[in-house]
């Protein structure tokens, strides 16, 4: 049994493109939450929101940017309560590491902190809901997302 999740994937795109997709709120809205609001700097706090705002009550989750090492490393803590500060016992740490491999990029993901998590029972339901979000809606949005990125210059 494990208490951290580690994944990696090889992406046939340069570091700059992958970095933007991973770190920019407009892109995060394509692969993660329905909306994302934060400034990309360490210590900044923001929100991730799930759910169609028009029809259902949205679920908003807080996140705090832990570290930003341009083109190399991006880490945030997420899913702590409104009145709390993000610490080890109330949030999960998500880390993305990017490494160039020739013209491609290896993207590594670690989500950790499951072992230290202490949560009042009342929060558990809300918590698990957005950890097991259905993916169908995200697939639909993916095509439009690539178009968003297309307007930019892929290599600076």
């Amino acid at each position: 049994m494990q208490d951290r999740i580690e994944k990696e994937i090889l992406i046939e795109a340069p570091l700059e493109v992958v970095w933007r997709v991973v770190t920019q709120p407009a892109h995060i809205e394509c692969w993660f939450s329905d909306s994302a609001e934060f400034d990309l700097r360490p210590g900044a706090e923001g929100t991730l929101t799930w759910g169609d705002k028009a029809t259902t009550s949205p679920t908003t989750v807080r996140l705090k940017i832990e570290e930003v090492d341009e083109l190399r490393y991006f880490a945030f803590r997420w899913d702590y309560l409104e009145h709390e500060q993000a610490v080890e016992t109330n949030s999960l740490l998500v880390e993305f590491s990017l490494t160039p491999e020739g013209p491609n990029t290896r993207l590594r993901l670690v989500e950790s902190g499951f072992a230290a998590l202490e949560r009042p029972d009342a929060d558990k339901e809300r918590y698990i809901e957005h950890h097991t979000q259905g993916w169908a809606a995200h697939i639909v949005r993916l095509t439009g997302c690539a178009v968003k990125e297309r307007g930019r210059s892929p290599v600076r």
Binding site: M1, Q2, D3, I5, K7, E8, I9, I11, E12, A13, P14, V17, V18, V21, V22, H27, C30, W31, F32, T105, L107, L109, E111, F114, A115, L117, R119, K124, E125, Y127, I128, E129, H131, T132, Q133, W135, H138, I139, L142, T143, C145, A146, E149, R150, S153, P154, V155
Partner: protein
């Protein structure tokens, strides 16, 4: 539906703690054991072991049986399997997210190349 999810989340929290995972591993190896016996192999007190066993008992990961003055614990394999599956589902979510990142980045990169070639 949500009742089932909450139950799985509790299981997941119960197995997230390192000492409890070691206790489960020991119980899986030994079949059945008392808190005293389990504490002997771990760097924690018998009282701490008993507390962890209560957490595991509450979510149904272990069951206890009284034999005379002893209480013996054993793993419930069906519940343990459920907890493992719950963790795998979180991992599967990340697989899908990474696939989406890959798809977005590669499409963007390919169309940028095409546009550059068209301009030549």
């Amino acid at each position: 539906m949500s009742g089932r999810i909450v139950a799985e989340e509790e299981l997941w929290a119960a197995v997230g703690e390192p000492t409890r995972r070691r206790l489960l591993d020991r119980l899986l190896t030994e079949g059945e054991a008392t808190a005293t016996r389990l504490a002997a192999g771990l760097p924690v007190t018998r009282q701490a072991v008993t507390k962890h066993l209560l957490v595991l008992d509450r979510v149904g990961l272990v069951e206890s049986r009284r034999r005379g003055r002893e209480v013996r614990y054993a793993v419930r394999p069906d519940r343990l399997d459920l907890a493992t599956r719950s963790m795998r589902r979180v991992a599967a979510d990340w697989d899908r997210r990474l696939q989406a990142i890959k798809q977005i980045a590669e499409q963007a990169h390919r169309s940028a190349i095409t546009e550059t070639e068209e301009r030549r």
